[in-house]
């Protein structure tokens, strides 16, 4: 298996920088928790991703070259970021705020962003998906979650589906039964008509050649009593 173990890492501006000649996709992981950073880093490495882990939204923006106040003196063009995975609850800039900044940027809005959170609050999940997040992982993140990230990779060539950008995804209507109105994870209420982005996973409603993975937590939310597919 291709590993970066014996390659020396350079330090640039406080970031560990990996050489950019590998074919592995590069994930930028953002989490203020030391423990969680270590775990997500290992989850990603073992799934054959290259990883850069930073401890704040601010650092993430600096890494991308998006921070207005302090941009890195070294260009990171050689280190394309293929996906960003970020914690939601962080001091300073939340994962949601980071998501917004990325989606507002013309250079980086195409990068898929996945949110992680220990709190499985429907309103929070909705807000993130509506803002353009590809997926929402409830912590603790598992290997099976990370393996799905390949589906969101920008570099991957897909046949017959429109997966990049994701404008299709966000307009998808949830078609499962409206169940209880309580905002619990086990029953997703689709009674609110102004929450269009319930199914970010399926590329499009018409040509779902990439079905929503059965073990997606977001999909699990939607599998209420219907037991059927979205």
């Amino acid at each position: 298996m291709e590993r970066n173990v014996f390659v020396s890492r350079r330090r640039i501006d406080g970031f560990d920088v990996l050489p950019s000649d590998s074919a592995e996709a590069h994930v930028l992981a953002v989490d203020d928790s030391l423990v969680d950073r270590k775990v997500i880093e290992q989850l990603l490495k073992i799934s054959s991703f290259k990883v850069t882990a930073v401890d704040s939204g601010r650092r993430a923006l600096q890494f991308l070259g998006l921070d207005e106040e302090k941009s890195s003196s070294v260009g990171f063009d050689g280190l394309k970021v293929d996906l960003i995975i970020t914690d939601y609850c962080m001091p300073g800039m939340t994962g949601y705020e980071l998501l917004k900044k990325i989606k507002e940027s013309s250079n980086f809005r195409e990068i898929p962003v996945v949110i992680m959170s220990s709190e499985n609050v429907i309103a929070r999940i909705d807000r993130c998906l509506e803002e353009g997040a590809e997926d929402f992982f409830v912590k603790p993140v598992k290997l099976s979650d990370v393996k799905r990230l390949k589906d969101y990779m920008m570099r991957e060539v897909r046949f017959g589906t429109a997966n990049s950008g994701g404008t299709n995804k966000r307009k998808l209507q949830e078609s499962c039964d409206p169940t209880s109105s309580e905002p619990s994870i086990s029953s997703l209420s689709s009674s609110s008509s102004d929450s269009p982005s319930r199914s970010p996973i399926s590329p499009s409603s018409a040509s779902s050649s990439i079905p929503t993975p059965l073990d997606s937590p977001v999909r699990r939310l939607k599998m209420t009593n219907t037991g059927g597919l979205i």
Partner: protein, 157 residues
Amino acid sequence: MDGVVQLQKQLVDYIASLFHEGFLDEQFNQLQQLQDESNPDFVVEVVSLFFEDSERLLNELAKALEQETIDFRKVDAHVHQFKGSSSSIGAHRVQNVCITFRNYCEEQNVEGVEPWHRCLKCLQQVKHEYSLVRNKLETLFQLEKQIIAAGGSLPAT
């Protein structure tokens, strides 16, 4: 190699008991699955980070509860972090007492000494569960070390 076999059985039984007694949960298994030849010490490393982080958080919590006027939002923020990190390594009982602790913090619209007492009690519980799981994990790692030192390999999870 009889000694190694004994140790390996001891380890398997010990881990099983930790799960059975609720000290560890499925997440710990996940961590063990992430350990491989290129990262053979991953579990020990991440758990060590957890210990460091926990000590820091316990100190912060003690300080916060010593204040003249308690900032419950700050207390809640620390407990939230503790809950997160314990959940990430599978320290199930620690995570649970953190959840209880947070529930108390969220109720803090009551003036007086009562909320402070309850928070102190919660802190004691968190400290207690943390030291329990810390001891258990250190014992576990010791067992693993002994097996390796005796030339054995760690049983697959």
